[in-house]
């Protein structure tokens, strides 16, 4: 009896231990499967340029998921000549990372006017297709901008500063569209450079926000000049870089909107500067403000 008991117990315990090993392996694989499902890489703004046999793919990669992702490969298929190739692209993205990338793939015989389709491959085996940017002028989100600049009007904020001097603390932001004409108001605007050339835009001190009240006998406007803010304090302006695809808060002011008092006025943003070797100039209608 004792022998039977010992042998049975031995077999039973061994079976349990093996089952536990298998169960643990199954759990590990389920976790890896879940991680694979949680991968969410978005490849936006795909842009192809061809020089000889080299196809340069420019793209903005965004990790919209909750797990870090390792991208290992880019495949490019030239549908015009039915040829393809791939290149190793060791890229690592943490959740929330937003990164412009440029990758070169060699496809013999590729032409500038060919049609391409591409996808990235991640280390977990997921494929991420490239979304090609629209040709011509980039159209920003509805009611949020015209041309190369996207303006997020929901992120518009203003600050009420005691004066316009450098070093003045600007206080906390206010989110709204009513400002006080008797106070020095600093306007904060979220701008994103979506220019098709993907070059950064360098705004100079000639940029400003302006507002013209209707029904005025002479055309006078209130103006907020572009300004730098450092450590929540006003600083003298030198330059403002708008990098491609990167939302940037640009400040204008501080100024009193005395000419617009008692009116609802349209706000225009005049941006002037340099883009690459060329001048950049754009005037954009933006929001409406009530000036009390």
């Amino acid at each position: 009896m004792l022998i039977i008991f010992m042998v049975s117990t031995n077999v039973l315990l061994w079976t349990f231990s093996q089952n536990a090993i298998y169960t643990q392996a199954a759990k590990d694989e389920n976790q890896k499967f879940a991680d694979r499902l949680n991968e969410n890489i978005v490849a936006l703004g795909g842009n192809y340029s061809v020089l000889g046999s080299e196809v340069t793919v420019k793209v903005i990669l965004r990790n919209a998921g909750s797990v870090a992702v390792q991208i290992i490969n880019l495949w490019v298929f030239d549908t015009t000549i039915q040829k393809y190739n791939n290149t190793v692209t060791p890229l690592n993205l943490n959740p929330g990372d937003n990164r412009p990338e440029s990758v070169v793939v060699t496809i013999p015989g590729a032409g500038q006017n060919d049609t391409f389709t591409s996808w990235f491959v991640t280390a977990r085996g997921n494929t991420v297709p490239l979304e090609k940017e629209q040709e011509g002028v980039i159209v920003a989100q509805l009611a949020q901008g015209i041309g190369s600049i996207s303006m997020d009007f929901r992120q518009f904020r203003y600050y009420e500063a005691p004066n316009d001097n450098d070093g003045t603390d600007i206080g906390s932001p206010h989110y709204g569209f009513t400002i006080d004409s008797t106070k020095y108001t600093l306007l904060g605007v979220m701008l994103t450079n979506l220019d098709s050339s993907r070059e950064a835009i360098n705004l100079t001190g000639d940029s400003y926000i302006w507002a013209v009240a209707r029904h005025v006998e002479t055309l006078k406007s209130d103006q907020w000049n572009i300004r730098k803010v450092q450590d929540n304090k006003l600083a003298s302006f030198d330059f403002q870089i708008l990098e491609y695809g990167k939302p940037t808060i640009v400040y204008f002011g501080a100024a009193e909107a005395s000419r617009s008092a008692g009116k609802v006025v349209p706000i225009n943003i005049l941006l002037f500067g340099r883009q690459g070797e060329s001048d950049y100039g754009q005037n954009l209608p933006f929001i409406a403000l009530r000036v009390t």
């Binding site: 022998i3 042998v7 061994w14 392996a25 694979r36 290992i72 393809y84 085996g125 494929t127």
Partner: protein, 168 residues
């Protein structure tokens, strides 16, 4: 004296003493028990080993994972090139068989040696963790119909199947 005692011992019909009989019986029982234990242990160890091998094999199958990076059907070569990535957690994923099929047709074409993406042949003909490779399916029983939807299924040596679809 001794000559008279020996026949007496041999022909004496009286029983052996209780202590000796108990000792002999105990010894016999212990010997039998040990032999039975050894036999049972041998049998169960065979079972344990087989069970362990089964669990190890199933665990290895769980860990195998191949991702299809790209499947390309060449025209006019009529070959299918399959690009794979070992995104699992176990090495030595070896391909045993490949099938191409659609809803009404199945083919088991021969496949070339496994190569790295740069074209060099993989020496051990298997994909370790993180390795990418490709093989070419040729000598399909029939040319694929352009624009039709097909499935390519890869069966590994460990018995796991992976499939992907492509349009010819």
């Amino acid at each position: 004296m001794l000559a008279r005692r020996i026949p007496r011992i041999i022909f004496d019909k009286r029983a052996v003493s209780n202590v000796i009989s108990a000792t002999i019986l105990t010894g016999v029982v212990i010997a039998l028990s040990l032999s039975m234990f050894t036999w049972a242990q041998g049998r169960t160890s065979v079972y344990n080993r087989e069970y362990k091998e089964t669990v190890d094999a199933e665990t290895a199958k769980l860990k195998e994972k191949l991702a299809f990076e790209y499947v390309f059907y060449g025209n006019p070569s009529h070959n299918i090139t399959v690009y794979l990535l070992n995104c699992g957690t176990i090495d030595n994923v070896e391909i045993k068989n490949v099938y191409v099929s659609n809803s009404t047709w199945l083919s088991n074409p021969s496949f070339s040696t496994l190569k790295f993406l740069n074209g060099t042949e993989i020496a051990d003909q298997d994909l370790d963790v993180g390795e990418e490779g490709y093989f070419v399916l040729s000598s399909l029983s029939t040319n694929l119909k352009t624009g039709a939807y097909y499935c390519v299924k890869v069966v590994t040596v460990r018995g796991v199947t992976f499939d992907s679809n492509f349009v010819a």
